[in-house]
């Protein structure tokens, strides 16, 4: 989906933050937020891809209101989708924890998604041969799905060169929607910065991992 999360190449965000040696959690609630998110897929009967997609669906103002904010809302969304809890329940509990005596709505009925798992993790071996080889020229397909994808906008329709064949992996575009693991070959593709950003671009090379369905033979 063309969401706020697809940030590559967007302009207007200003200076990068300074490099600091800050600990992983600035405040105790951030640690708790991390764990809830890390366990959310297990609790909701979903997967890592569904979690990423839930974070992508966080409305842009909330997405930009901080990392642990979007992480937590994403975790909650995924649990709502599986009928583990509702937003009304969360808000009522938050009000009660703040000392307001509001009624609590009843919990929903869980309805976790059903999808066969091909094993732990996301690496899978494939029986089909890869369509592309190292050195091949490829062009990124003009895909614009409204669901989850790991194809960022900024490489769409651009031409590059395959530099590595990576391990086969669960296809995020289908797994996030519980439509099957559908494992795919994955390639690292090398783009010249001028192919991405025009002749005036800073000279550099951009490497990105792209799944086979994202690629077509290139010029």
């Amino acid at each position: 989906m063309d969401g706020i999360h697809d940030l590559g190449g967007m302009q207007g965000f200003g200076h990068v933050q300074p490099l600091t040696a800050a600990p992983p959690f600035a405040e105790p609630w951030e640690g708790k937020a991390f764990v809830i998110g890390a366990l959310a897929a297990r609790i909701a009967g979903t997967n890592l891809h569904a979690f990423r997609h839930a974070i992508e669906r966080v409305p842009p103002p909330e997405y930009l209101a901080g990392y642990w904010n979007r992480w937590t809302i994403g975790a909650q969304t995924m649990m709502e989708d599986s009928g583990i809890l509702t937003d009304e329940e969360v808000r009522a509990r938050a009000a009660r924890l703040s000392g307001r005596d509001v009624p609590e709505p009843p919990p929903p009925t869980p309805h976790k998604p059903q999808m066969a798992s091909g094993g732990a993790g996301n690496l899978r071996s494939l029986d089909t041969p890869p369509a592309f080889a190292v050195g091949d020229r490829v062009r990124v397909a003009d895909l614009d799905p409204s669901g989850h994808t790991r194809l960022p906008r900024y490489v769409r329709r651009r031409a590059g060169t395959v530099t590595a064949l990576r391990p086969g992996q669960v296809f995020p575009d289908t797994a996030a929607h519980f439509a099957g693991e559908n494992p795919q070959h994955c390639y690292t593709v090398d783009f010249d910065s001028r192919e991405l950003w025009g002749p005036g671009a800073e000279p550099f090379r951009l490497f990105i991992d792209l799944f086979e369905p994202y690629l077509e033979p290139g010029p």
Partner: protein, 196 residues
């Protein structure tokens, strides 16, 4: 930033979620505390620093690390979530690698722990794939124009870690002393390991 009319303070949301999930037996205090302690104390850039120091002192290990990052990193006992397939990128005087995840904040947890704030921030994620030399300069790393910059966008389950250059004047350092010099920022590629 209070962003939308129905914005709930994230700390309060977390408290409410934890309360509901605990009540339903879906999480428990001990698991939560254990998880937090793991990522505060045992999984962090000190792991990656050991990998780097070993590669600097053992040419055989360095070769294995660059050929099969996952296996070589596992030799030192580091593996787990967000490190299923590791690729190690070697910085040299002529080629400088830098890693980002533009779509979320993918990061090699077993060797670097959880990502720092700047890595997850929209400014870094949007800009480093468009003007990396300028971004590195803002971070304080001014690379010569002759250095080729290679930006790696972590868009699949492959995770990248940079093997930085060993700083000058460290020939007599032990492996443990070298590990103490290695920084998280150098292993993402936004800094060099400082000369001691």
């Amino acid at each position: 930033m209070t962003s939308t009319p129905d914005h709930l303070d994230p700390a309060l949301r977390v408290q409410a979620l934890a309360s509901l999930l605990t009540e339903r037996g879906l999480i428990d205090e001990a698991t939560v505390e254990n998880f937090i302690k793991t990522y505060e104390q045992s999984v962090g850039p000190m792991n990656g620093a050991k990998v780097v120091a070993r590669a600097w002192t053992d040419p055989g290990y360095r070769a294995r690390l660059l050929a099969d990052g996952t296996a070589a990193i596992a030799e030192l006992g580091f593996k787990g979530p967000q490190g299923e397939h590791m690729v190690v990128l070697e910085n040299t005087p002529t080629v400088h690698h830098v890693v980002v995840c533009t779509l979320c904040s993918c990061y090699p947890w077993p060797v670097l722990g959880l990502p720092p704030s700047w890595y997850k921030d929209p400014a870094y994620r949007s800009r480093v794939v468009r003007e990396p030399r300028q971004v590195l300069r803002e971070f304080g790393l001014d690379l010569d124009d002759s250095v080729e910059i290679r930006v790696h966008d972590s868009s699949s389950e492959v995770r990248y870690m940079v093997l930085p250059e060993r700083p000058a004047g460290t020939g007599h350092y032990s492996e443990a002393e070298l590990a103490d010099l290695v920084t998280r920022d150098a292993m993402v590629g936004v800094a060099k390991v400082p000369v001691p």
